[in-house]
Point group: D2
Chain length 265, copies 4
C-alpha cells in the first residue's frame, strides 16, 4: 500500500542567503519511490549533495525574497519489518564501522550520563527487549506537549521535564539506547499517523536479526506511537536533530508557513 | 623529515570486556607510513573497522586481564601546507556533502551559541583570516592547565573557565569556526612538539585554496601552539572528542599507564 | 528632585490561584516615599510579607478572573552616592554576616566558574576599580537585545551569547563581582532612564568607603547604562532574578499587559 | 538521650588566606547545647558572624600554615517530631516571608524544571504525603555512590545519573519539594547513623501541623535513610550546598584530613 506525500513550506529571505533543505523521501532500497516531484522557487544557486550516511540528499540554495518549496511523492515501503522485542543486541566488538559512530554522545543525546539509569530501570533486559522497554517507558512517562521545548532542548532537559514533541521523544530513546550500548540514530520522516500532520522524527536502533545471517539491521522506534515502521518514509538520518532539519538558514530568514499531508493510497 | 612515533598504554579488565582502540597513524594520502608495528596482548576477539570519514581504523578487542598496546611507526608528512590566513572561506552552498556535517553542533561543540560572539569579536574577518584570528584569540585568552577539565567539559564550559587541555582548546576553536560557518572537525594526532609528550588533539578547518581549482582543503589548527601542521600525524577525526578516543571501554577497566614519544628523525 | 512612578499590569486567572507580587518602592532609609498608592482588584485573600533582607514587601493574593494592579508613588532618593572606582574591597574576613550570602553561587549566577576569567581579564584591579572594570567590560562586550533570552537563561549562557536584557546584564555583573570575592546582589528597580520604559534590574555590590568608618556600603551598578544610582528606586533585592519578580503565579495565568512610567518631577 | 559530637579537620594555607568555617551545632531552641568546645589553631584574625536565617554562626579566620579545628559538643534534641505524612501543605498565600525564599530555584536546585515530573509521578498527593512520596521515590531510585558527584553537580545531574552522596540526595528532595510548592531548604548536620561517619546533609521542608495553631513547621527529611530527625544535630541551613559548607577557602588551601564521631550517649 503506497504512501502519498504532499509537503510545502515557504520562507522569505531579505538578502541573498544560503539555505540547506532536506525534505525528500530518500531513494534507498527499503523505499521504492514510485513518483516524486520537487518544485522550488527560482534561486541564484541550486545544488544537491549527499546527506548523512548517503541516505537521501540535501539541497543547497542561494536565494533572496519569497521562496517556496512544493514536494509530492508516492512511496512504497519495502523494508524488512521485525518484531523488535525478538531481535538481539550485537556485542560491541561485532559492530561494523558505520554503526560505531551511533554509540557515541551527540549534541542533544548525552548518552553516557544515562548509564546508571538504564542499568537500574531496565535491568535484566538487553537487545530488542531493552529497546521495547525503553519505548514503553518513554511512551508512558512523557507527555506530548507542543511548544514545551525549543532548539536548545536536549534529551537531558526532556528527561527532567517529561514532556516534548517528536524530536524530544526521539532524543530520549536514542540516548537511552546508546546508554545501553545499542547504536541509535535520529530519523527525519513522513508518516500518515502523525497528528496533526507535520514533519516527523523518530529513533532508529541497530540490532541483530538471528534469522538473517550477516548481522545488523536498523529498526525504527517511535515512542510517540504515531509512526508505524510499515508506513514511515525516511527523509534522512543523523546523530540527532542537529544533523537533520528540513530547513537550515545561514542567515536571517522568516518562516512563513508549512503544510504536510501524508496518506495511505 | 620523517616523524618517529612510539606509544604504549596498558589497562586491566577484571571481566571479559569489549574495548575500542584507535591509536595508529591513519594511512591517508597526506601521510606516508614508511614503517609501522602494532603489538597488542592476546585477546578473545580482534577486529578492525573503518573509522570516521574512512580516516584510519578503529580496533575492537574483547579481552580480560592485563592488556598492553605497543605501537611504533615512522611517517612522512606529505600534506599541502598553506598559509591559512590567505585561504578563503567557501560559501555554504559550495560546500560538498562530506563537509556539511562539520557545520553542525556536536556534543562538546554547541557552535550556534557562539554566533553573536564571533560576529562581534572577529568582525570584518572571514575565511582563513577568521580562523587565524580565532586561533590567536584562543591562544592569548586561554591557559593550558592540566587537570582543569574532565570528560563532561565542553566548549561552553571552557569558554567560561578560560582554561583546559588540548582537547578543550580544540573544542573551542572548532565551535568558533563552525559559528563562523566554517566546517571544522576534531583531530586526534601525534606531534613532536607536544610537551609533555602525550596523545594530542587539534582542530581542522575546511577552507578554499584559490590557487587549487576544485575547492576545499582541510587545514590543521592548533591553538595550544604545540603541533605544527608540517609534523602532525593524524590518527583519526570526528565531530569532537566524543568521536575519537584512543581507548573506549564498554565496561569497567583500570587504566594503568601510557607513554608517548614522537621525534623528528 | 523626586522620582514619580506609575506602573500597572493586568493578568487573568482562570481558576482561583495564588500569586506573589512585588512592585512597590521599598520604604528603606535611602528612599523617602513621599506619596504612594496601591490599587489592586478584589481578591479572596490579600497579605503582605517581608521581602528578602527586609527590603520592601511581597504581596500574596489569591484571586480568580481578571486582575489589575495600579501603583503610583513619588520617591525622593537620599542614598549616599560614591565614586565606585575609589571604594575599596573588604577582606572576606571583614564581611558582615548579611553580606556573606552574596558571595555564593546562585541559580543564575554560577560565580565560581568565572574565577580564572576575572583573574586574567581584570588582573591588577580590586575593590571598586574591579567593579568599574567589570561594568565597562560588560557594557562594551554585550549587546542589549530584547527577546534574546528567556526564564532559563543564566549568566553562563549570557557570557557565551554576549547579548541579553537588563536581567542578563545584571546576572553577569553579579557573577563577575562574586568571582572577584565582592558580595553582589540583584536589584529590581524603577528608573527614569530605562528605554523603553519598563520594570528594570541592576546589580549591587558591597564595598568599603574608607571615609565612612564602620565599613561596607551597597552600591548600584548598571552595565546597561540606563539607570543612574541617583535616580534608581529599589523595589527589592535577591541573589538573582529567581528571588525578585514583580509577578510569580502558582498556577496558570495569562499576562495581559503592563505599562511603566518613571519621570523626574 | 543526648548526642555526643567530636569532629576535627585540618588544612594547610601556603600564604595568608581568608577561610570561612561552619561546623558547630547551632544554638537554636530545638537543640539544647549541654556542652561545647571549639579549639582552633592560632590565626591572624578570628571573627564570628551570624549564619543564614540566624541559625548557627560562621567563623571567619585569616591564617597561614597548618590549621586545625577540633570541636566537641553534647547536644540534647528537643524538636517537635511529627509524622510527616500527616502534615498538611500550606497554601502559598499563607506562607510567611521567611519561608517564601525557599520556594525559589537556587544554584543546585532548579526546581521549576521538575514541575511536570512531580505532577505526574506524585499525582494525587500533597503536603506531607507528597514529601513522604518524594523521599521514598528518591530512596528507592537513587544509589548512594561516594565519588560519583562533584562540586558542580546539581539536582538535574543527579536526577539523570540516579546516584550521588548525601548532598545530592538532599538537592533532589529539595528540588522536588519546591516543584510541589513546598518550601524546602538544605541542612548541614551531624547524625549518629551516618555510615561511614562524616559531615552530613539532609533536606528540610515547611509544612503545617493542623494540631499546632499558627502554622508552619520545618521538618527534616533524609532520603539516604541515615539520619533520624530525633537525633540529627543541625549546623546550619541554606538554599542548597552553595550556602552551607564546613570549609570555604578564599584562596588555595590543601585539605589534609577530617574525622567525625557522633554517638548517642
Amino acid at each position: 500500500m503506497p504512501i502519498s506525500i504532499q509537503s510545502r513550506f515557504a520562507f522569505t529571505l531579505d538578502v541573498p542567503t544560503d539555505v540547506l533543505l532536506q525534505f525528500e523521501a530518500a531513494p534507498i532500497p527499503e523505499q521504492n519511490i514510485l513518483r516524486s516531484n520537487t518544485d522550488v522557487s527560482r534561486s541564484e544557486h541550486f545544488a544537491r549533495v549527499a546527506a548523512q550516511d548517503d541516505i537521501g540528499e540535501r539541497i543547497w540554495i542561494r536565494a533572496v525574497g519569497d521562496f517556496e518549496v512544493e514536494y509530492s511523492a508516492t512511496v512504497e515501503i519495502e523494508r524488512q519489518l521485525a518484531d523488535i522485542s525478538r531481535l538481539e543486541g550485537l556485542s560491541p566488538h561485532d559492530m561494523p564501522g558505520e554503526a560505531v559512530q551511533y554509540l557515541f554522545d551527540s549534541r542533544y543525546c548525552p548518552a553516557d550520563r544515562f548509564q546508571p539509569f538504564v542499568e537500574a530501570e531496565f535491568e535484566g533486559t538487553s537487545g530488542g527487549a531493552r529497546v521495547t522497554a525503553i519505548r514503553e517507558w518513554v511512551a508512558s512517562h512523557f507527555e506530548y506537549v507542543p511548544g514545551s521545548s525549543g532548539p536548545e532542548t536536549g534529551a537531558a532537559d526532556t528527561f527532567i521535564s517529561r514532556q516534548g514533541i517528536c524530536r524530544d521523544f526521539a532524543h530520549v530513546v536514542v540516548s537511552l539506547a546508546r546508554a545501553s550500548t545499542i547504536p541509535a540514530r535520529y530519523v527525519a520522516c513522513y508518516s500518515p499517523g502523525v497528528t496533526p500532520q507535520d514533519f516527523h522524527a523518530v529513533a532508529e536502533v541497530f540490532l541483530n536479526d538471528p534469522e538473517t545471517p550477516g548481522g545488523g539491521t536498523w529498526q525504527l522506534v517511535d515512542a510517540t506511537g504515531m509512526a508505524e515502521p510499515c508506513d514511515t518514509v525516511k527523509i534522512g538520518v543523523g546523530r540527532d536533530a542537529a544533523d537533520v532539519s528540513f530547513l537550515t538558514s545561514f542567515g536571517p530568514s522568516n518562516f512563513r508557513s508549512s503544510s504536510v499531508q501524508v496518506t495511505k493510497e
